[in-house]
Subunit: 111 residues, 2 copies
């Protein structure tokens, strides 16, 4: 799974996707989610992602070079079909925010 | 815990905090994290947060009215002390990004 990708200096873009879903084993969600991350990696302008899920809440942040790369991913055919499935079956509720990352810093503990 | 807060129309600001930590029961992390969310709620300009942790990766997004409210929270004395503890003890690595939310939309499934 993704997490803590190495990213360029800002500015770049973040898509913040939060969701609650009914967890139904065998409903195809996990396979589709994994396929979407694989597909996203092949998209122009994709920079990486962070994702976690606990207490029924999923928080996924995908990073992109530009608004144009986000728009192209939203319209990608297989992804568009997955979005429709998500609305119809998997997600009780979700929110999506598009944000411009203005600054970033990190910390790694010294051994 | 937080999740899916009701937010105003954009623009507003998001602080995206991703982390990996050594999970040591009894190290005070959980208590401090809960206290920081309580404190943040009292800060001017705080709008809400989403947080999840799985596979060792924590993804927390806090929403704020303005960059000034983010700066004030960063400097808040008890929070500043917790940041020092985090760097010294709890987090192996973290990344923090400050982003301006430009647009947002959501979906709730019809019953």
């Amino acid at each position: 799974m993704g997490g803590m990708p190495v990213l360029p200096e800002p500015p770049y873009w973040a898509v913040i996707f939060t969701s609650r879903r009914n967890e139904q084993p065998g409903d195809g969600y996990e396979e589709t989610a994994a396929r979407m991350f694989d597909l996203a990696r092949e998209q122009p302008g994709f920079l990486g992602y962070d994702t976690a899920r606990s207490d029924g809440l999923g928080v996924t942040v995908c990073y992109w070079e530009s608004e144009e790369s986000i728009a192209a991913w939203k319209a990608q055919a297989e992804h568009a079909a997955a979005q429709r499935e998500g609305r119809a079956r998997w997600y009780d509720v979700y929110d999506l925010k598009v944000a411009r990352v203005e600054r970033a810093y990190g910390h790694t503990r010294e051994p």
